[in-house]
Symmetry: D2
Subunit: 382 residues, 4 copies
């Protein structure tokens, strides 16, 4: 890193964990320092975060528009913004910062509609700005190793992908999911989708990044399980990939006992890969002869393009925060490399706005499939 | 048991493991002794088994029809027959023995078509004979415990069932699956279905028996993955149950590294049950508060209707053979109880011909769904 | 097998599981049939078992001496006897049958003292009879595979062995261990040792057979944990092997939650082997580069000297009964091979009386070490 | 936190991971900022770290004595120092900073001899300074939960503790352990102990903190396994606690395949607790009835005194860095609380110098036991 970057944050107030998590993840490598923010719609809460983080009070803004504008004018203005608000707010915010010439990091799903995501993608291209969507799990060293294995045909051609992301926190009628659960299940805020937008996009992204496969078409069954709910809380999607492989994606918020259980199983013509985000320190690889091998982060058996992200020796467990930190490390390095003229496309290793848009295309295709009675919808029709 | 029963066997020659497995399973309790058989189309091979098992040579028959006829006439004729031939042969064989007044045990899937299965069901009823279909896995003590838990609403209403049965033995183009693989993949012998018939019926039965749920409709995607193959070797089925719950069933023969990996996950309104046939000594139960409890066979935490089948204390692992033996124990006890007039319906604990027919209805609905482009097919239309 | 053998049983009445377990294990292959027995000191209970097993009432004897004598005189007398009484009774019984010229199978520990075991060993040699001690766990296919790996130096020289066998059934003051627990904890019946005799001998045998290492000396700490108890219920033994390797053996009956948790971890100069009897379908092998491989019974990666004992394909779980059955299979084959003159020493694959004696030497050395204040005792001093 | 603290670091240069790890752990909460340092004996390397961390060059000192002296004089001098050099250097460094009136954090084992540790303990008391020894693993939320469970007698009286910490990185003769391995195995630098000092102290501390038990006496066997080595690389310690409970501690550097496998199993009169640092997101609890329950960090089943340290919801895995960060969080909060006058003894939750001294007493007792032929040594004799 030629210099330490400045970043701002929209959202991430004291009522949720996600803002602090992003700030901690960035601090892991210290490539950027928090320099501006609108942490809450409540100025009081926003100031509370500013104080906790040691932010100058004059850079704790009332609203994101003011912040985009003023930061763009400062010599020491933020290099990038981190947007961690509920997703129905993302689009306008992202657009404002892109238009102000500021790189953007935005939580997933990046927008509510595919059209919005495509607009942001175009805008970022026009403005020549970087745009990262924080699909956290792709930051895991082992996830990157899986991707490299598939790229190198270590398991031959991919034939079948079983991917799932069940949670249990919204299993009950008493809406014990708190504030988070409230907006997610509220059609006014979440649009037409709850579970599939929140978890399904993670699944779609994980498979897309790990396997490199493109989805040709989907057939989705979106269930509303808990009585009194309007939006989906349990979803199954049949997938056909362009290479002819099949996939099954399952996401749920009513699977009691499941926390953050994103699991991807990739079956190839020469072997199998099993990966689980809750056990991200290892990856299980099965060769054609059926022997099952467990690879651990920190060993030489991990591809260097993945292992380079490790911060600690094997057995010193890394987790969610390190995964998020790895995304930020790569993103900030890319910003600096571009400034210095040393950037090349293959350096960028983070989920970008193209992946973000892909996620929304997936969601819209699923919604259409579900609405039309669980029929196949081509992604090219979205 | 008031007396030791006699049984005969059709199939189970020296080239496969299944005949010996059934014979060993029956020997576990010794409720019946092998008294007649046609173990192979080759008389030489058949006689080899007769010798190994100490069977009288005059009860080693040339063909099943002769055996049915002659055994029916003997005073000490067989009480039941065990049919473990490839499934395209089942129907005629089952019918012959039923018509001869002999109870039948038949491997799954019980027939090739639903109509055949229904015919056998009617015939068994007319003849007042017992008919067991050897869905082995439902013999596991823990499987029976799961069924009892669901019956008792221990996890509330069932909302979602994830069930799968992947194998890897037919993943390769060289057809390394041997004789077994050859007939399974041959449309002349297997009819229209391979993987879904072999494994899908196990999944369907496991879910049906464990949850008591009835399938309303299915939407099936049946893939032919390995080049050069004609029949399905990877299948996904979306299921809607009559109570409104959803299900996803996956079966595969191309999942390298999977042996016999039947797994059922049942998500209810008050908890979750996880069961895996390869780890059948335990069952994982998750309560509404999210704590995960592992119950072991042999402990008092297992319902007595299930634990009564255990033969060894906890930690003395029981497996596949015990599961199969449990089916036979109950079946032979039912035969004796009927003789003695002590039989009551709730005593029968084995998968009967009604379950066998249900399995074929499921397969036919899936075939229809797949043929018509992955549309929903009601089981009532089969 | 040239012929089916006859066997008798001493012990194995209706109050315990062990007799039925041995009978079932023998039935798995059917190499021998039950032909005589004294199943209980109560003639009534003994006759009950005779009836259940279909044994002729004239071969259900009043006491073992009568049985040894009469069976030795019969043309169709038993070929071998199976002794499954509490171990304080073993010595006299074994001696009686050996003197009657009948091969012996005896539960472990084979006697109460080392001297007794040596006497039996000599007697068996003099009489040219086979003598198996049923260390069940060494019948597991994977245990045999581990032994072959070590023999072939697959993990180099063995440096360290961690072995343990905790149970939890005697953890409570209320003596909830039943009849079994009662005699085990009673010095009048068990002599000077409880837990170390029951479980420690299993550990000693498992390590001895798997690694081929000979113990040079031991240092034992034998704890009496539960108030009111006289004999050990928790034991730790430091071991030094003749090749200089170290070992730690731990056995306990107060480890709540442990069932039959025999585990052996073998650390060599080129790799590691992890084996657990409760998960006996697999063995974990770690190579020098640290990658962890799981081998499953039923695959070609298992040495043929081990895999030949498998009865079912991979994924069709085998367990405790199959392990016991494997011991009997080998033992009965050896008897037949000797009759036919085809026997060779390397054919015998079962734990013999030499291993039985070794177990008692181990126990006595531990008792001496414990009594003398946890000092090193050489096995050559026993 | 009333204010952000300043801290300095001794050691932690570019050749090892441990310095960066401590710095990242402190950054997690940001309670303190790096303000001074001597990162390496090479000024060049030291400056490299200063640059990377944005440290003012005038606070990058030539040696620790200068730093202690100058920082003590500055108004904005460091509040505490973090010492992460090889342990033979700790004593002088710790003393220098204590004498300069600066709180100390020191890596474990805190000194080479027990006498040195006691001297530091006294000095800290005299100077009224806080002293933390970074036994990292006690920062895990689940480790704190275990401690609380034992305190609350959730598993009754502790009867037996099995604890182990195997590693495999020094298993080979080629000394592939690098610079770290070199000094650890060098008697000139490590004194009389290698493995037991590095790993054994972790085990001792984990058991001490989790169970609250005091060691009465030890019997140690310290092996030198790898040819050509002088110091121990595999150690077993029998432990007797003051309450009469038994313990077995095993540490190794030659256990190929083991990374950082600290595991503690606590057997009580009413249940069992299983804890593994490599799976620190969960803890397994077994009740008297034998049912096995898995508790996950992030759920309400975790005691609040432990769960308050969690930064992320369940399923968002926390690891080694968070554990270390938790120690620093508590330590820095204690410093502030003392400044503000709100400090109370029960607030301090970190491993202090008393624990550090206890670790050295343990090591010395083990050394004595080993030297005298594996005899019992009372800790009161050290």
């Amino acid at each position: 890193m030629s210099r330490k970057l400045n970043y701002g944050m929209i959202g991430g107030g004291p009522d949720g964990f996600i803002g602090a998590a992003h700030r901690r993840a960035i601090q892991l490598d210290g490539n950027a320092v928090l320099a501006a923010g609108v942490f809450s719609r409540s100025m009081e809460k926003s100031v509370q975060i500013a104080k906790e983080t040691g932010l100058d009070s004059d850079r704790c803004y009332c609203d994101y528009k003011e912040m985009a504008e003023k930061e763009a004018q400062r010599e020491d203005g933020i290099d990038f913004v981190v947007i961690v608000t509920p997703n129905y707010m993302h689009f306008e915010m992202c657009r404002a910062f892109l238009e102000a010439g500021i790189h953007v990091v935005c939580d997933k799903p990046v927008t509510v509609t595919y059209a919005q995501a495509v607009e942001l993608q175009k805008l970022a291209e026009e403005k020549n700005l970087l745009f990262m969507v924080t699909y956290t799990y792709m930051g895991h060293v082992t996830a990157k190793h899986v991707r490299e294995m598939v790229r190198n045909s270590d398991i031959g051609d991919v034939r079948m992908v079983m991917a799932e992301y069940p949670q249990g926190w919204l299993a009950f009628e008493d809406n014990s999911g708190g504030k988070q659960g409230a907006w997610r299940c509220d059609p006014e805020k979440s649009g037409n989708v709850n579970c599939l937008g929140d978890l399904g996009t993670h699944v779609e992204n994980a498979v897309a990044m790990m396997t490199g496969l493109k989805i040709k078409k989907v057939l989705a069954k979106m269930d509303v399980v808990v009585p009194g709910r309007v939006l989906d809380d349990n979803d199954t999607v049949l997938v056909e990939f362009e290479n002819g492989a099949s996939g099954v994606y399952w996401t749920s918020q009513v699977a009691i006992g499941s926390d953050n259980a994103l699991k991807v199983r990739i079956y190839g013509s020469k072997g199998t890969i099993l990966w689980s985000q809750e056990e991200s320190e290892k990856v299980t690889v099965i060769r054609a002869d059926g022997t099952i091998t467990e690879l651990h982060r920190g060993y030489e058996s991990i591809y260097s393009s993945a292992s380079k992200y490790g911060r600690l020796p094997a057995g010193h467990t890394e987790g969610w925060l390190e995964a998020m930190g790895n995304l930020y490390r790569n993103f900030t390095e890319c910003i600096c490399a571009r400034e210095e003229g040393t950037f090349s496309e293959d350096m960028a290793d983070y989920p970008d706005i193209a992946y973000g848009a892909e996620g929304l295309a997936f969601v819209e295709a699923c919604l259409k499939s579900s609405r039309e009675g669980n029929v196949w919808i081509s992604l090219s029709d979205i």
